[in-house]
Symmetry: C2
Subunit: 225 residues, 2 copies
């Protein structure tokens, strides 16, 4: 059985990726990161998702020093509301986030013998993050294959899989629904309340709600409309 | 004043890089990593070095999950002694170590506005690590420039500096001595005793001792010969 590392945030995209990877019969190693994000409730979603797909789940506590200056990790910045959608890279951008996440996946993957790394990056209907683009992911893969003992000695090849990259958010939801994803346990909101309910107003909520609406399905996740 | 991030292990190479960066007038942000390495005493060396060059020093505690299967982090594997020198990639190899370190430097660097990243990687007289080669570092730099908001929007350019890459270990020691590096506070041994004294027998000690001998200088670091 082939092994895969799945970057599992607990959100809509990574839940859909988990379902895809599960349907392809991989032995799954799921990685989640606790990096001081406001929406840490997503880690609990990740835990439930990993369990439902029989994945080995590791939560990596990252020191907050690496991820400062983002509204996702700093109380002084407020998460932008939907009127700002589409105006360049928003302040929810976290410096080098996917680079750090993929690098842990790379090291952990080599340790367990998994070189297929899955990430829910998505360049359509996205928030404008540079590390969610095809050019970036391709460059990462090239670098990765020069970095590891197993690849340099010719026994393995790292493949960064981003199966959602060119799907619209509505297409992702449609795919997930066809794979039976339980979206009620996923979490996407950047600014949840203390009970973990989504705000329905941040970029992430706005994009998600529109995608469900386009599928004529009510989003089953909890909101504080 | 330009800002630089220096990956500072506390060893001979990174101490020499610190001296070089200091001589070039950068404002220095030094990053060290606590990843469960046996030779954690090197972090204390890093602290002293950072202080002596007026650098802001951050020690990043990394979860050990990322770095398993190496003799540097696992008690079950023994550090190879010098008779093995030069036979391929040794078991002191740590999966994706420089990739993880550089990725933290990238995120931290963008946060503080530092895009010149210095690493003491060295491809001559080295231990055969794939992530210490020119091809790898070049690929990393290309990826990095596609990853960050500041670079993608054209306000900065990431440069991965590896000034020791094509120097022999003896040339590195000569350079450091000319820059006044206090090598007595550096630590290179993979297998120190409880007092932090170097073993004089592991790859790292063997390479270091030979380099000092070639400079006709006695290595001032403490050994348990």
């Amino acid at each position: 059985m082939s092994k895969a590392v799945v970057l599992l945030s607990g959100g809509l995209d990574s839940a859909t990726v988990m379902a895809l990877v599960g349907s392809e019969g991989y032995e799954i190693y799921a990685l989640s990161f606790d990096y001081g994000q406001r929406h840490r409730v997503e880690i609990e979603s990740a835990r439930k998702l990993a369990q439902s797909y029989g994945a080995l789940h590791v939560v990596v506590p990252l020191p907050s020093v690496s991820f400062q200056g983002s509204s996702l990790t700093t109380k002084e910045l407020s998460v932008p509301k939907r009127e700002k959608l589409g105006e360049g890279i928003p302040n929810t951008y976290v410096p080098a986030r996917n680079t750090v996440f993929l690098s842990f996946a790379l090291g952990f993957g080599e340790t367990v013998g998994a070189f297929d790394i899955f990430i829910g990056a998505n360049s359509i209907d996205y928030s404008g993050y540079p590390d969610c683009r095809y050019e970036y992911l391709t460059a990462y893969e090239q670098m990765a294959n020069l970095a590891l003992k197993e690849t340099v000695e010719g026994r393995a090849k790292v493949k960064i899989h981003a199966p959602l990259l060119s799907l619209t958010k509505a297409e992702i939801v449609a795919l997930g629904l066809s794979l039976g994803v339980d979206y009620s346990i996923t979490h996407s909101c950047y600014d949840p309340d203390e009970e973990g309910r989504a705000c329905a107003r941040c970029d992430s909520c706005a994009i998600r709600l529109r995608a469900f609406a386009e599928n004529n399905v009510v989003d089953p996740a909890p909101y504080r409309y």
